[in-house]
Structures are given as C-alpha cells and as structure tokens.
C-alpha cells in the first residue's frame, strides 16, 4: 500500500511538472471563465405565475394517461403513479423567491465542452506517456510495472479528473460571480422550481444544492470519459487516431443526447454520458426508464451508467496493459500506378522557404483545414438553425418588405387584433370557458399558437421602426436574419485561433528547432528574415481570411440573401449605434475592418513570440494578453477605457459602433502607433542578435 501511495505520488508529479498540461489546463480554465462571464445574462429568474397550473397540468396529464395507455409489464402504471405522487407532494402556492446567478450557473453548458476536452487531454498524457518516451519496456521489467502500474494509472487519472471537474466548476462560478451573479447569496436557499428551466423539477431541492449535486454528477462522467480517452490513446500507436476516436465517442454521445431531446426517447435521452452531465436532464421533469417493467428514475440511471462505464473501461485498460496489447491501425496506402519521381530541389527565395515551413508542416495544414471546416460547420449550423418563430417572423417581414411603418399601420393593427383574439380563445379553451364574440375559437386558438411568438418578434421590430420614424430616421421593413447571422455568427473565433497558431508557429519555429543561432549568424538572418516572415504570414493569414470569410458568408447569402442592401443599418436590432450607414456598405466595412483585425492580431503574436522561447508559451501569452483586457474592460462604462480592449480593435462591429464618436479616432490613432511598434519588436531583437529565451519554469 505504501508503494502504491509512492507510485501514485510520482504519477501525479509527472502531470503537475508538465508545462504543456499546466498551460492547456490554465488556458481552458480561463476560456471557460471568460465564456461563463460573457454568456451569463444575470436575471431574477422568478417563479412564473403559471407554476401551479403547470404542475396541475402535469398531474392531470399523467392521470389521464394512467388508464389510457396499454400497460404490458406495469411500467406505465408505475411511471404515471410516480409522477402523480411526486408532483402532488410539491408545494405550488409559494411566493416567488429571488435566485441570482445560480440559474445562470446551472444553464451554462459550455463548461462541459472545456472540461471534457481538458480531461481527455490529461488522460491521454497519463496513459500514453510511457509509450511515447519508450519507458514501457523498462516498466514491464519491474515488480510494480504490471498490475500495480495499471492501478496507479487509473487512480491518478481519476484523481486528476476529479480535480479538473472541481476547478472547472469553480471557474464557471467565478465567471458568473464576476458578472454580478452572486450579489445576493440568500438566493442559494431558494427552491429550484423558481428557475424557469427547472419549473417541472419533481424534487424539492434548493438551487445551491442543485449546483453542488450537478458538480458531483459530473465527476463519474468525466472519469468514464477520461478512462475511455486514456484507454484509446494507450491502445492505438497513433496519437492522432486516438484523439479522433475519443472525439468521435464524445460527439456521438452528445448527438445521441441532442437527438433524443428532439424525439423524446427517454431511454436514449438518459442512457448516454452527456445526459449525466446536464443539470437540465438530471433535475428537469421526471422521466423514468423501463427496465423489465420497473420505472427507474432518470437521475438514478444518470449516476449508475457512468459508474458502470468506469468499471468497464478500467477493466479494459487493465486487460490491455497486462496483455501488452497495442493495436496498430495503419491506414491503407493507395497504390498509385505511377511512382512519384523524386524531384530535385531548386533554389528559391527566402519568402518561398518561409511558406514551405508552414505548408510542409502537417500540423499547420491540419489547423488550416480544420479552421475552414469549423467555419463551414458553424455557418451551416447557423443557417440551419431556423426556429419556427423566426420563420413566422420572416413571413411577416416579407409580407411588408420595403414598406415603412406608417404605410403598414392598418394591416399591422388588424394582425395584432387577430393574435389577440386567438389568445383569448386559447385561454378560454384551456380553462374550460367560452367566448361568444369569436366565430371559430378553435381555429383562432390554433392561429394564435402558430403565430404569436413570431408576431412578438415582429412587434418589437415594428415598435422600433416607429420610434425611428419619430426621430426622422425612416427605415423600411426587411428580414435581417441573413445580416444578423453574418454579424453574430461567432465563427471568427476559429479564424483568430488559427491565425494565432500560425503566427506563433512561424515566429518561434526557428527557436523551437534550435536553428535560431544558425539563422542569426547568416547575412540575411537578422535584417531581412523578420520582414520576410511577416510577408509570408500576412499572405497566409490574408488568404485564410479570404477563404474563411467566403465559406462562412456564402451559405448565409444563399439561404437568406442580403435583402435591401441599401437600407439603413438601423433596421438591424443591436446595430443602431453604427452611424446609420447602409447595410451593404456596413458589410463591406466589416470585411475590411476584420481583415485589419486579423493583421493586427498577427503582428501582436509575432511581437510576443519574438520574446518567448516556445510556441505554446507564446500562444498562451497571446491568449492571456488578448483575453484579460477583454474580460476586464467588457462592461466598462467609460468608452475611452473600453478602447484599450484589443478585442474591440479586432471586432469590426465594435469599432463601427463607435464610428461616429471620437473614440473611433482614438482607436485609429492607437492602431497607428501600436502596429509599427509591434512590427519593430521582432526586428529590433533580431538585429541586436540577442535571442531572449524566456520560458515558464
């Protein structure tokens, strides 16, 4: 046991002393915290006025189904009986309580993405390290190199994963907290049912307890996934293949969960790992799984399934290790008819060689390809996600497209009356009352159900256009879905990450490869090389930007069209402060400003990279320098202070929102100073011949 403890200690030390693990974890934790901070929309999630009716409707529905559905094995009776018992016991006449922040924490789902990525990465390191360093043969020769080794590895992986779960949940808390979510700590004791997303929660539990339990639920899921990722990375000789299999496993689980949400298959919805990590799934409405007629509540399945998988994946790893299994999967090589001739290289200019460094690196090519694929996926998803209310909203917009609000006033009022009548009919039917002034209440109610949300969206637009009309800023009605998707697609993050990677890669490449000392003793290695590197980087980043913009823009253009490009930007909610330019001109300006943003980012990276020894540290430093001001200055009320945020400089829309203020001039002047400084940092260091080797120790 003492040996086990000693080995475990060293196993954990290996992890803690690995710079890459620490950097990746810190970057992901920071990204998670920033995402929680940015996405958090703190509000007082109070109990809705229909809570009692909602619970009554659930009980009524269960009672009606109790005898109506065929019940072969007694599951239906047990399930609906359980629903009636659970929901009847709930107290529904309580006053709404204040819940601040906890709702946001519970509904913040991106933590899972960051957490699982980090767990898989660390697990792969834990399990794969000895294989990569060639220490496995030595280990096998030792007393504790077999069963003891496997047990230590699994335990270390479980401990690391648990620590990561706690850290990531804490970072989410910190993000929400920083946004002002936990101003009122008394909200922690409020019932979970106060939150809109958990209105049908079957158990009386406080939001604080729910937040705590949701953390506990994540631990076995993450351990199971870590064991899987680690086992797979141990099994395959190719690290890339192992990463792909692990990613597929997680994505498959996610898709299963998402799909079953749509088709409401309780079994699929709960018997996958992703179900156990989502608080909405665990604490939401009561669902049961039919196991030989027994109605097993979903929250029980959600804890048992990961535990079973932990045992299974752990046993598989044990068996693999004891049998020294190593599966090498080689991709079939295509036998080409003609043999490739070995070409003799020809001398080229330095510019061509800098290009080659990027395009001959599999990693760089993979990053570029993945960026473009990710951009295409995000774009297609944003185009395909066309919810029904928005479709209705589009219908209304198209009906009055190109006309001004004062021209459609009568038609709008008629439609509003129709929706209003529908609402009255719907309410009356729901509570068993009658309405005399509506000819066909059922049809009116159906019309209301089909259109009220879409019309609500249009109402906001109409009111806004009326307001603008009163200010003398007349703007026609148009469907701005395409423009809005383009402005807010968020796909740019992939471009930014990719550009940062390529810049740091090329800037630090010579240093990482230990060739810097040779470069700096050559005639052109000091004066000309930094400029040539810049030129190559600008070309690659520019081409990537153009390709990425086309890929993300074209699906939106084909699906929605860019209607009325001459219309004023005021027509798009959220872009009122953009100087009142036309939509077409705004899009063109966005292209240009985003490109300037990418150029700036590249320079920024090169400047930082020239001072730092390896590209991972350089990437982390760039991310920090980019993220911290964004995090701190996002909500600064003073616009002059906000101008110091580099994220604002990179964001075309942010800049344009300030375009009619002196702050835009301030940013422009800042850019004029900052860009040359950034350009000269690497140049000056090269010229002086000094290679500054900073690294994290």
């Amino acid at each position: 046991m003492q040996d086990f403890g000693q080995n475990l200690k060293f196993e954990l030390l290996k992890l803690l002393r690995n710079r890459l693990i620490i950097i990746v974890s810190v970057v992901l934790l920071t990204a998670n915290m920033v995402a929680a901070y940015r996405l958090c929309d703190v509000e007082n999630d109070a109990k809705t006025e229909y809570y009692a009716q909602g619970v009554a409707a659930v009980i009524k529905d269960a009672e009606s189904r109790y005898g109506a559905e065929e019940d072969k094995d007694g599951f239906t009776a047990r399930y609906y009986g359980m629903i009636v018992d659970k929901y009847s016991a709930l107290v529904t006449d309580k006053e709404p309580e204040t819940v601040t922040g906890f709702g946001q924490y519970l509904s913040y789902i991106y933590v899972d993405m960051f957490l699982l990525s980090c767990c898989a990465f660390c697990a792969a390191f834990v399990f794969r390290r000895e294989k990569e360093t060639g220490e496995m043969q030595t280990l096998y020769a030792y007393k504790y190199g077999r069963r003891g080794y496997a047990a230590v590895k699994l335990t270390a992986c479980a401990i690391t994963t648990t620590a990561l779960v706690l850290l990531f949940c804490l970072s989410s808390f910190a993000g929400v907290f920083a946004r002002g979510g936990f101003v009122d700590f008394t909200g922690g004791g409020a019932r979970l049912q106060n939150l809109k997303a958990f209105i049908y929660a079957p158990n009386e539990i406080s939001v604080l307890s729910a937040a705590f339990v949701s953390v506990l639920y994540k631990i076995p899921v993450c351990i199971a996934l870590a064991f899987f990722a680690g086992g797979v990375s141990y099994l395959f000789n190719s690290g890339a293949l192992a990463a792909a299999v692990s990613a597929l496993f997680m994505y498959g689980s996610y898709m299963l969960n998402n799909k079953s949400y749509i088709n409401k298959n309780a079994f699929l919805r709960n018997c996958n790992l992703f179900a156990s990590i989502r608080p909405s799934n665990i604490f939401g409405e009561l669902r049961c799984i039919d196991v030989f007629g027994l109605a097993i509540p979903a929250y029980v399945v959600n804890i048992v399934l990961p535990l079973l998988l932990i045992v299974f994946f752990g046993a598989v790893f044990f068996a693999l290790h004891l049998n020294r299994a190593s599966v090498t999967i080689k991709l079939p090589k295509l036998k080409l008819k003609r043999k490739r001739k070995i070409r003799q290289a020809k001398p080229h200019g330095l510019y061509a060689y800098e290009f080659r460094k990027i395009f001959k690196s599999k990693l760089c090519v993979a990053v570029i390809a993945l960026t473009l694929i990710a951009g295409a996926i995000v774009s297609v998803i944003s185009v395909r996600a066309f919810p029904y209310p928005e479709q209705v909203y589009k219908k209304y917009c198209e009906r009055w497209q190109g006309r001004y609000c004062y021209e459609i006033e009568d038609e709008y009022n008629t439609e509003a009356q129709k929706i209003n009548d529908g609402f009255r009919a719907y309410s009356a039917i729901r509570f068993g009352q009658t309405v005399d002034d509506i000819d066909d209440p059922m049809q009116a109610a159906d019309y209301y159900i089909a259109n009220f949300e879409g019309f609500g969206l249009f109402r906001e637009k109409y009111e806004r256009l009326t307001e603008l009309h009163e200010q003398g800023k007349d703007t026609p009605v148009l469907f701005e879905g395409g423009y809005r998707r383009f402005f807010e697609s968020g796909a740019d993050i992939f471009l930014i990450l990719s550009a940062v990677f390529l810049c740091t890669y090329l800037s630090t490449y010579d240093r990482v490869n230990n060739t810097e000392s040779v470069m700096t003793t050559t005639k052109k290695g000091r004066g000309k090389l930094p400029w040539i590197k810049f030129a190559a980087l600008m070309t690659v980043s520019g081409a990537l930007y153009a390709a990425f913009t086309l890929i993300t823009f074209l699906p939106i253009l084909f699906k929605f069209g860019m209607v009325l490009p001459g219309a004023n930007i005021y027509a798009v909610p959220g872009f009122e402060a953009c100087g009142g330019t036309s939509l077409g001109r705004y899009v063109a300006l966005m292209f240009i400003l985003r490109f300037i943003g990418v150029v700036l980012l590249c320079l920024f990276c090169c400047g930082i990279s020239s001072l730092i020894k390896n590209h991972i540290t350089a990437m982390a430093a760039t991310a920090w320098i980019y993220v911290i001001p964004m995090f701190l200055l996002k909500n600064a009320e003073n616009k002059a202070v906000r101008c110091a945020d580099p994220a604002l400089w990179l964001d075309g829309s942010g800049f344009l929102q300030l375009s009619d203020t002196p702050y835009a001039v301030m940013i422009s002047v800042a850019l004029c100073v900052v860009i040359p400084v950034l350009i000269f940092i690497p140049y000056v260091y090269r010229q002086s011949g000094r290679v500054i080797k900073w690294s994290l120790k």
Binding site: R343, P347, L350, K360, N513, T515, V518, K524, R526
Partner: protein
C-alpha cells in the same frame, strides 16, 4: 586575414564564463579544449554575435565586428553544439535555404559538392526527419560550410559520428581550412590532435595552456608511465597517481599513469600524447 580577440569577458550573474580572453587568429584550425562549463560555447557565441560580451573587443582585419554588421555575418559559418534541422525539408532544400540566408548567388554546384563531401549525396532528396543522428550532424556541418565562409566555427562537429565518418569529417575540415579561420570546440582530443594548428586549453573561462598540439604534448614528456600490476593493486595506484587508462589482461592489468616520479620499479616511460597533457592540465 586576422581575427583579433582582445580581453573579452562574459559573466552569467556571479558566474564568470569567460575572463579576459585574448588571442589573434589567422587562417588554420584552432581547437578549443576544456571540460563542460569552461567557456568554449560562450566564446563561440560571442564570436558569432549571438551573445553580447560584457567587455573587450573583437576585430576582423582591424575593423570592429559590431560595426561591420552584415559584412561580418557574411564571413561566418557556424555549427552549434545541438544543431536543429527543419524536419520537413529535404537535405538539399535545407542547404538551399541556408544558402539563401547567406546570400549565396548560385548555390546548386556548391550544394552538390558539399553533400558529396559529407557523404549525403545519395539521400539529398530525403526529408531530414528520416535522418539518423550522424546524418543530421553531417548536414549541420554542411550548412556551416556552404557559402565558403572565411571564419568557420564548429561546436562539437564529430559528436555522434562513427569512426569512419569521424575521420572523413576530420579530413574534410582539414582540407577546407587552408584559407579559413576554423575554430573547433570539442572534448575529443584525438579529433584535433593531428589537424589543429593551435590547441587552446580553456579552464573556467581562462586560457590554461595554448600552443601547437605536438608542443603541448611534449609538456607531459617524462610524466607518462606504463605499469603492469595485479588487479588488487589498481586501487592503490589510483589513490597515489593520476591513472589515465586501465586495461585488463587476464589476471594482470596494464596501467597508464601520469607522474613526474617513477611510480613503480617495473614502470616504463611512454611517449606523451595531447590527451595526457589535457589530463595533466585539467584533472587537478
């Protein structure tokens, strides 16, 4: 052609890596010998301007190298101790790249010639990621030599090479050194014993000894002995003298001992080598 190093010093915090190094170098091979941390690589990095010196002056033909800028860099060829090579380039591409960096006009002929010289001609189109340690070492030498530099600095050029390659590289360096100042930093005394014009023993950043290898070797004359003794006597000899070599021969052992008095009755005097002098200077 003259490279003058005058009173050059360099410290890393409290640690003096080089202290008042002074020497005038003319065409020929100079061997820098010394244990780890003696200042060999520091001196190399100062000569290549990769490291800023704390004090002193280096001139090339009377001109300060710091003021010469690109003109001076154009004269340099440098092979670092742990040379890095771009794994995705072929050997040929890598040399063309370095040639472009050195501003060599038409490098094709030179590249072919150098690749033949370092015996990499048959793998010129292979990616360097597939190269063995020895092949990479020879390619690193090739990149240093390309462009016909007048000052060639080689840090451990024969590390990781087999005996045949070691001799080939040694001969190649000797061949090209006629019109160049070649500085070789090494621990392997035998590599430079027969090709170096001058051997410089560096000890804690100071020149401990300097001269032609044969002259230096003579300094150990009369102090090198060969003794045949029993295996049980070895420890006693080791405690009393500097034992350079122990060769077991059945029950008996042949010892090579450094001593200025006859260490044993059966001790026979031996002809000294540079290695003996190296041991005499450094193992003290």
């Amino acid at each position: 052609m003259e490279l003058k190093i005058n009173n050059v010093s360099k410290s890393y915090k409290q640690n003096k890596a080089l202290s008042g190094f002074t020497m005038t170098l003319t065409p020929g091979i100079y061997a820098l010998l010394g244990p780890n941390g003696s200042g060999k690589s520091t001196l190399m990095n100062i000569i290549t301007e990769n490291l800023k010196r704390d004090s002193g002056e280096i001139t090339y033909d009377g001109k300060d190298i710091l003021k010469m800028g690109e003109e001076y860099l154009g004269l340099l060829g440098y092979m670092p101790q742990y040379p890095g090579i771009y794994p995705q380039f072929t050997a040929e591409e890598y040399l063309y790249y370095i040639a472009a960096l050195k501003g060599v006009g038409d490098p094709a002929e030179q590249v072919t010639e150098i690749l033949c010289a370092v015996e990499l001609d048959d793998v010129r189109s292979m990616k360097t990621s597939t190269f063995s340690g020895g092949m990479k070492q020879r390619l690193a030498l090739a990149q240093a030599v390309i462009g016909d530099p007048k000052i060639l600095l080689l840090d451990e050029p024969t590390a990781g090479l087999d005996p045949k390659q070691r001799i080939a590289v040694r001969n190649y360096i000797s061949k090209i050194s006629l019109d160049k100042i070649v500085i070789i930093a090494t621990h392997v005394v035998s590599d430079i014993e027969y090709i170096a014009k001058t051997a410089i023993f560096l000890k804690k950043g100071v020149i401990a000894d300097c001269g032609a290898p044969s002259e230096l070797a003579k300094k150990a004359a009369g102090g090198v002995w060969s003794i045949r003794c029993g295996a049980d006597e070895v420890t006693a000899y080791q405690n009393r003298y500097k034992v350079i070599n122990i060769q077991s021969d059945g029950a008996d052992v042949n010892l090579r001992v450094l001593s200025y008095t006859k260490p044993a009755d059966n001790a026979k005097p031996e002809a000294p080598t540079l290695e003996d002098e190296y041991i005499r200077v450094f193992v003290n």
